[in-house]
C-alpha cells in the first residue's frame, strides 16, 4: 500500500515537473505571448511597422545597404513630456537602429531631448518620452541622428536628418523663432 502511494506521488511529481518545464520552454519561445528576462519591443514603446511588399534588395555594388527613414518635421505639444516622432527602422535592414533627437533653442546650441532604445528592423517608436517640456511656442531647428547598431554593440555610420520641430498648444503655433 505504502509502495503504491509512493509511486503515485512520484508520478504526480514527474507530471508537475514536466508541466513546469514545458511552460518555461513555451514562455521562453514566446508562444504564450510574453517573455521573461529580456524586454520585448512592445515594452520599449515600439510597434511593428507595416510590411512593404515591393521590396527587392540584393545589396548595392559595395555590399549590403542600410536604409534610413527621414522626415521633415514633427510637433511637440507645449508642456507635454511625450511626443510623436516618426522614428522607425526599415524592415529591409538587418541591424537595429538607434535614434537621437536634438533641438536647437539657441543658435549653434543643441540639446538632446530623446534617445531611443534599439529599434529592431520593421519597428517604429510609438510615444517618445522627451527629457524636457518647458519649450516656448514656436518652430525650432532639430536634428535626428540615426545610427545602425550591430548585435555586438558596435555602431555604423550615423546619418543626420535636419528637421523642424513645432511646439504648439492645441495645434496652434503662435510664436516663430
Amino acid at each position: 500500500m505504502s509502495k503504491r502511494k509512493h509511486s503515485f506521488l512520484y508520478g504526480i511529481g514527474i507530471g508537475i515537473g514536466t508541466v513546469v518545464i514545458v511552460s518555461i520552454l513555451l514562455i521562453r519561445l514566446g508562444v504564450l505571448g510574453f517573455s521573461i528576462g529580456s524586454r520585448s519591443p512592445e515594452q520599449d514603446n515600439l510597434i511593428l511597422t507595416d510590411t512593404l511588399d515591393d521590396y527587392s534588395a540584393n545589396g548595392s555594388q559595395f555590399g549590403p545597404e542600410i536604409f534610413y527613414t527621414g522626415f521633415d518635421c514633427f510637433e511637440i505639444e507645449q508642456g507635454s513630456k511625450t511626443a510623436t516622432i516618426p522614428l522607425q527602422n526599415s524592415e529591409k535592414n538587418t541591424c537595429n537602429m538607434k535614434a537621437v533627437v536634438m533641438i536647437s533653442l539657441l543658435p549653434e546650441e543643441w540639446i538632446t531631448i530623446y534617445e531611443s532604445p534599439l529599434i529592431p528592423p520593421g519597428y517604429s517608436v510609438v510615444n517618445c518620452d522627451i527629457s524636457r517640456s518647458d519649450f516656448d511656442l514656436g518652430t525650432y531647428c532639430g536634428k535626428v541622428l540615426l545610427t545602425p547598431t550591430l548585435d555586438d554593440g558596435s555602431s555604423m555610420l550615423p546619418m543626420v536628418f535636419n528637421v523642424s520641430i513645432s511646439v504648439t498648444k492645441g495645434g496652434v503655433n503662435e510664436k516663430k523663432q
Partner: protein, 159 residues
C-alpha cells in the same frame, strides 16, 4: 392735384424698387475659402554600409532614395556634406586626406551635394532613384601601407 399724386406715387415706387434692388445686392455675401494642405513627408535613403577606397579615380558611393510619402512637388530632399567631416582617413597618428567629388566638381564640408524633388514624379512612391554618385579620391598616396579608415558624414534635410 391728381397729376401730382400720381407723380408722387411713381417716385415712391421708384424709391422702393431701387431700395429693394440695393438691399438684394447687399444680401450677396462671399466667403473666402483658404486651404493649406498639410504634408507629413517621409523618405527613405539607401546608403552602402562600407566603401573600400582604391587608388583609382573610380571609387564611388551611390546614395539613393528608395521610398517617399506625402511629398508636394515643390519640396526637395537636400543632401549636404556635413561640416563635422574631418576629410581624413586615419590609422592612429597617421592621416591621409581624401577629397569628395560629384562629377568633376570638388565639394567641401558644408557644401550641398545633391537635391531631388520626389513629388515631381508622384506624391508618394517606392521606386529607387539615385540622387548622387559621390567619388572619393586620395590626392596623395601615403608613404605607409597600413590600413586607413574614416567616415563620410552626410546630412539630409527638406526644403
Amino acid at each position: 392735384m391728381r397729376k401730382n399724386s400720381r407723380r408722387w406715387l411713381l417716385m415712391l415706387l421708384a424709391v422702393v424698387f431701387f431700395q429693394g434692388a440695393a438691399c438684394s445686392a447687399d444680401m450677396v455675401k462671399s466667403v473666402e475659402l483658404v486651404y493649406n494642405p498639410a504634408y507629413n513627408s517621409t523618405y527613405e535613403i539607401s546608403v552602402p554600409t562600407s566603401l573600400t577606397v582604391t587608388d583609382s579615380n573610380s571609387t564611388s558611393l551611390t546614395i539613393s532614395i528608395t521610398k517617399w510619402t506625402d511629398f508636394p512637388k515643390e519640396k526637395a530632399i537636400i543632401m549636404t556634406l556635413s561640416e563635422d567631416n574631418t576629410m581624413k582617413l586615419t590609422n592612429s597618428s597617421l592621416e591621409v586626406p581624401f577629397e569628395v567629388y560629384v562629377g568633376t566638381t570638388q565639394y567641401l564640408e558644408g557644401d550641398q551635394l545633391a537635391s531631388y524633388c520626389p513629388g515631381s514624379v508622384a506624391l508618394s512612391g517606392s521606386s529607387r532613384v539615385d540622387i548622387a554618385v559621390i567619388l572619393i579620391k586620395i590626392p596623395n598616396k601615403p608613404e605607409s601601407s597600413v590600413q586607413y579608415t574614416g567616415q563620410l558624414k552626410l546630412e539630409f534635410s527638406t526644403q
